[in-house]
Symmetry: C2
Subunit: 139 residues, 2 copies
């Protein structure tokens, strides 16, 4: 369970089961006060890191020498002015630099994260049931 704590303004601090924390904030035009990513940015970041983590682990097992690696995540959202504004499509672009990287090994590692191992991508494709509940406590 991840718990998100309100910090005032539109700033939130998430505490996670592994003892990590993550600050998030609104978009600048909505009154961003800190340097925390927005929740939508954190969503895209989670997709990229989830997938990249698998790729690095698989390429190490395949004895590939990766010297630099970045993943660009971008998407197409529903039109401005309509609500909600979900992402309708997302592209995860892996840019790998290395020494004699084998294209087949890279392709296979990306197929494996995309189709099998990345739980964030799998969750997006699953369309999980999301339920919101609430409790009011008197101050």
């Amino acid at each position: 369970m991840v718990t998100v704590h309100w910090q005032g303004e539109l700033i939130f601090k998430a505490d996670t089961p592994t003892g990590s924390s993550l600050m998030m904030d609104a978009y600048p035009e909505e009154g961003q006060k800190s340097k925390g990513p927005t929740p939508v940015e954190a969503l895209l970041a989670s997709i990229g890191a989830c997938s990249a983590m698998d790729v690095v682990a698989i390429l190490v097992k395949k004895r590939q020498v990766v010297t630099a690696y970045r993943v660009e995540v971008e998407g197409v959202r529903a039109p401005v002015g309509e609500w909600p504004r979900p992402f309708l499509a997302l592209t995860v672009r892996h840019i790998l630099t290395g020494k004699n990287l084998e294209p087949d090994a890279v392709q296979r590692s990306i197929e494996l994260t995309d189709e099998k191992y990345c739980s964030v991508i799998a969750t997006l494709r699953e369309a999980p049931k999301v339920e919101s509940v609430w409790v009011i406590e008197e101050a």
Copy 2:
């Protein structure tokens, strides 16, 4: 577009369009080296903060006095040992403390984020198309 940069080990730094950054790392049992959240934790955090941001903004407009607020996000995943392991269901639990908070105002704010404004929840329900592509650059 969010870009996730590999930092060595299984550590990744995401840079976002609003100039923010976010570190992520593996689970402790997979060799976590930093205190960054895992990508799955970042996903849950993004859901909670996205929804909470709407609720705070709506309750301020409704002149409600919120003194403390946290959101717990948890889910049910596909069984261990099978891959992929998506979340099949997620619960977003809002715990609000305030002065004479009106239950109807709280309920309405949560309905609005759940059904209309939270782009992260809407994306999860949308089941967006996710495409992975790659480029290899020689060192």
